[in-house]
């Protein structure tokens, strides 16, 4: 076979793979959005779900998803970013560092249902948090932490060594170099990674089944005192998120409009995940342009 033919075959194979990927994505998105879009209106987004009647909404589920997401980020971003900085800048090559790095990798490949069972045992039962937002957020932290550690470490390592040398050679301490040179330069990468991981957390269901629970108490959206049991802000109440709701409606729902609710919820979920992904790209790009001063 001559080289031109093999080159053409290779090119075609790569194009074919790309087409298969794009086609799958377009089909999936198209299917979910066309089926779900018709169900989404203001009353669907702003009314309570019903357990057996027609016309239930997803207000509480949507709120719960965002609240758990926020709390997960509150736990995992500081811990993950500091851990990533440690691995990139402070850890010395050797046994301990290898153990840490392997642990992070294993954590990131744990099936989410296993994380859910772990959460049930440790956070829900052993720590006595019960089915609660905080237990769900802790389980999702276990799930999200390795991603953020990884993204931070990679972003910091990708900064050219000469930048770091320039700072150290001026007599700047390691800590100030990390703070004023490395972290600012790595910031767009870290932020993009955090937003992308937010999309993953937002859509997670399995880890929440046994930690945040399958139901939501009646919420009073005029009561913002986090210590009262009907407050939407109370972190110790159980909370069904949007993706858990989709699973529950599909498997146990007895309302006549099960299909419509599931379709609508799926579309809302997908739209938010898409927003996270697109904003990660846009914000990352804007900040990168700003920091590198290309004007």
């Amino acid at each position: 076979m001559n080289r031109r033919i093999s080159n053409n075959i290779a090119t075609s194979v790569f194009i074919l793979c790309a087409v298969v990927m794009i086609a799958t994505l377009v089909y999936l998105l198209g299917y979910i959005l066309t089926n779900g879009f018709a169900e989404i209106d203001w009353s669907f987004l702003s009314s309570n779900s019903s357990s057996f009647q027609e016309g239930g909404g997803i207000k509480n589920q949507l709120w719960n998803s965002f609240y758990i997401l926020m709390m997960t980020m509150l736990f995992s971003v500081p811990l993950g970013v500091l851990g990533g900085i440690y691995l990139a800048e402070y850890s010395k090559p050797g046994k301990i560092t290898n153990v840490i790095r392997t642990s992070v990798e294993v954590l990131s490949s744990l099936p989410s249902i296993v994380v859910g069972m772990f959460g049930l045992l440790v956070f829900v039962q052993y720590m006595g948090l019960g089915y609660s937002i905080i237990a769900g957020a802790l389980a999702l932290t276990v799930f999200n932490l390795p991603v953020i550690v990884r993204v931070t470490e990679d972003s910091i390592r990708s900064i050219p060594l000469k930048q770091k040398n320039a700072s150290l050679a001026l007599g700047i301490t390691h800590w100030h170099t990390v703070k004023t040179v490395l972290v600012p330069a790595a910031f767009p990468g870290i932020l993009t990674g955090v937003i992308l991981s937010a999309g993953r957390v937002f859509g997670e269901a399995a880890a929440l089944l046994f930690t945040a629970g399958l139901s939501t108490p009646n919420l009073n959206f005029t009561n913002w005192n986090p210590f009262e049991s009907t407050s939407p802000l109370n972190p110790f109440r159980s909370a069904e998120t949007l993706s858990v709701h989709i699973w529950k409606v599909n498997s146990q729902g007895i309302m006549p409009d099960v299909l419509e609710i599931a379709n609508g919820s799926a579309a809302v979920l997908i739209i938010f995940v898409l927003i996270f992904n697109l904003s990660a790209r846009i914000i990352g790009g804007v900040i990168f342009a700003k920091i590198s001063g290309k004007k």
Partner: protein, 251 residues
């Protein structure tokens, strides 16, 4: 202070099991230009990085001997940060931070705690003038330093090193990534700076060494072969190996 910025005695350095410097002893005179020449891998950059201890960045480095900087041994009980604020360094590839020209120049002094805007403006102007680049950039101090040409970036880096008021400047092949005109400007700058600073330049360019330096050290395979007045090294070297190297027989 005395007449020497550095007095190096019996310096040995190992990277893991490989010895890179053997019993190097030399005295670097105060406020003169000292050039270090030699073929690739001879240890000249390693020696330079010893002078501000940047070599410690590399894992598994071991050192023996003494390096006295202004009379104090920097290998014992000496903070690297303190040394490096007095000993500036310019690297082979220009490495400005991806910040504005102004921010680049004041980076070091700002972290030392100078906050006064007027003082900072003065430092920027003085450092950029000393680095002979003030006229080229004075109207765009707040644009990105990475948008400048390589030669301009290198002079911004020199200004950044000067801003923290060192008394020694180390230069690691500062012109090897620059075009001939930029090279000429940096060489003129080195000539101007030696009134106020001790300068140590590593270069693989022998013409450059003969143009800019007062004395020249020739390194080969980790040994300091010869160290003398530049005129003497280039006209009448003592060692056969120096003669072979500068006449282009190897390296």
């Amino acid at each position: 202070m005395g007449n020497y910025s550095y007095e190096v005695e019996n310096l040995n350095l190992w990277y893991g099991d490989n010895q890179a410097l053997f019993e190097v002893s030399m005295k670097i005179p105060y406020r003169e230009v000292t050039a270090i020449i030699g073929p690739s891998g001879c240890g000249k950059s390693t020696f330079l990085k010893m002078l501000n201890r940047m070599v410690e960045m590399i894992p598994k480095v071991r050192v023996s001997g003494t390096i006295k900087y202004n009379g104090n041994n920097i290998l014992e009980n000496y903070r690297a940060e303190e040394l490096r604020t007095n000993v500036g360094m310019v690297f082979q590839h220009p490495n400005p931070f991806p910040k504005s020209i102004y921010e680049n120049v004041i980076y070091g002094v700002r972290i030392q705690g100078i906050r006064n805007k007027k003082k900072l403006d003065e430092i920027v102007e003085k450092s950029l003038k000393q680095a002979a680049i003030w006229d080229e950039v004075k109207d765009r101090l707040h644009t990105s330093a990475t948008g400048l040409s390589g030669g301009q970036q290198q002079r911004i880096c020199i200004a950044r090193a000067l801003a923290v008021e060192p008394d020694v400047i180390l230069m690691d092949e500062p012109t090897s990534a620059l075009d001939p005109i930029s090279t000429l400007k940096v060489e003129e700058l080195i000539h101007d700076l030696k009134d106020k600073y001790t300068i140590v330049v590593v270069t693989h360019n022998m013409q450059q060494a003969s143009r800019i330096s007062d004395q020249t050290a020739f390194f080969l395979n980790g040994d300091l072969v010869e160290f003398d007045k530049t005129d003497k090294i280039f006209s009448n070297p003592m060692d056969k190996r120096t003669e072979d190297y500068i006449s282009g027989k190897f390296g």
